[in-house]
């Protein structure tokens, strides 16, 4: 059986996570696109923390019935891995786009510079 204090502490922690994420979206410091995974994390952890019987049942299925809070750690770890993987893909896309932007800017500057040189051949 899950100790009651673990359930209470984990519930408070998941609620805090949810509140912080929502406040970050409201203040426009986090885009909805990147907030959905965090909200899912918060909701799943909150449900697992508060629904003690459910946690015990799942722990029983997975053979850790003697210590159900292990499922909380496992779920939290899994979600963190998914979020990190998602960020890696976002980072890769941003890297590609950043390279493209820098190249475009360089080519554009060269073109503008050539146009200016044509208009003022004596360099002024």
């Amino acid at each position: 059986m899950t100790p009651l204090r673990v359930s209470i502490a984990a519930s408070i922690a998941s609620l805090l996570l949810l509140l912080v994420v929502l406040e970050l979206i409201r203040g426009r410091r986090l885009k909805e696109r990147y907030a959905l995974l965090w909200l899912a994390t918060g909701v799943v952890l909150l449900v697992l923390s508060a629904w003690r019987e459910g946690l015990n049942t799942i722990a029983g299925w997975l053979g850790v019935g003697t210590y159900p809070p292990a499922i909380l750690f496992a779920a939290a770890t899994l979600f963190v891995i998914v979020v990190l993987l998602h960020y890696s893909t976002v980072l890769s896309k941003l890297t590609d786009e950043n390279v493209l932007l820098a190249q475009k800017l360089g080519l554009l500057e060269e073109r503008v510079g050539r146009g200016e040189a044509k208009e003022n051949p004596d360099g002024r």
């Binding site: 409201r26 203040g27 909805e32 959905l36």
Partner: protein, 246 residues
């Protein structure tokens, strides 16, 4: 500011087959209307086709998505001091001959933004739409229409319509701040929060000439969740008033 300067903003992603016709139709409708095509990272020569048809063209270096593409157009309109902007899709589903219906409420000074709705009540049978979107899409459209109507205390029937016209005030607000991904739904809440006057007029829309809807079945659940979250957050977040046009 030159009086009566108007611009049509046409976002296009790989619409090389349709965008030329859209620009030509706009120019035929009103030769004095400037047309700006925002090429959203196309790979099919959309920009060249649009320029050949007589449009100004802004080419984005990669696909930014419909919201950022349209906002690029609003930024252009704001910087260039246009007094009125219409926006319509580059795939030909929005008929430029319907534009007088969109412009009338703005010209009478009765609205800041006018949205062409496929579902608004019509008076004449000739105005009735034959085009019915697919069921799943209709469910989404109705869901968002109900939710937005509830949130903004105003009856809106078509929150996903990209066939719109807006005055300088609307342009300034959207140039400074415009949603991404599926922007029209969230923009309706912004319109409400900024106390802009929104008027819906019934318009007919055509079958898409080319390409397919940017909303695929797999992504639609994600969009519904994301947009619902954004709508609810949109009701409680803070809004800044944009600066006047340069």
């Amino acid at each position: 500011m030159i009086p009566d300067r108007r611009v049509a903003i046409v976002p296009a992603h790989n619409e090389g087959g349709a965008v030329g016709g859209v620009v030509a139709e706009l120019k035929a409708f009103d030769p004095h209307l400037d047309v700006l095509v925002v090429d959203d990272g196309s790979t099919d020569g959309t920009a060249a086709v649009a320029a050949a048809a007589g449009a100004f063209v802004v080419t984005l270096p990669f696909n930014l998505g419909i919201g950022a593409a349209v906002q690029t157009g609003f930024k252009f309109a704001h910087e260039q001091g246009y007094e009125l902007a219409v926006r319509l899709d580059g795939d030909g589903q929005h008929d430029p001959s319907e534009l007088p219906k969109l412009l009338a409420p703005l010209d009478r000074g009765e609205a800041d933004i006018v949205v062409g709705s496929r579902f608004a009540p019509v008076l004449a049978d000739a105005d009735r739409n034959e085009l019915r979107p697919a069921l799943a899409r209709r469910v989404g459209i109705v869901f968002f229409a109900r939710l937005v109507s509830f949130l903004t205390h105003q009856r809106v029937t078509d929150t996903t319509s990209g066939f719109q016209a807006l005055n300088a005030r609307g342009i300034a607000i959207f140039a400074a701040d415009y949603p991404h991904d599926y922007p029209e739904v969230e923009a309706t809440v912004m319109v409400y929060k900024h106390r802009l006057r929104l008027v819906e007029v019934p318009v007919r829309m055509r079958e898409r000439e080319h390409g397919e809807s940017s909303i695929t079945a797999v992504r639609s659940i994600y969009y519904v969740l994301k947009v619902t979250l954004a709508l609810l957050v949109g009701m409680v977040r803070r809004y800044s008033i944009p600066e006047a046009a340069p």
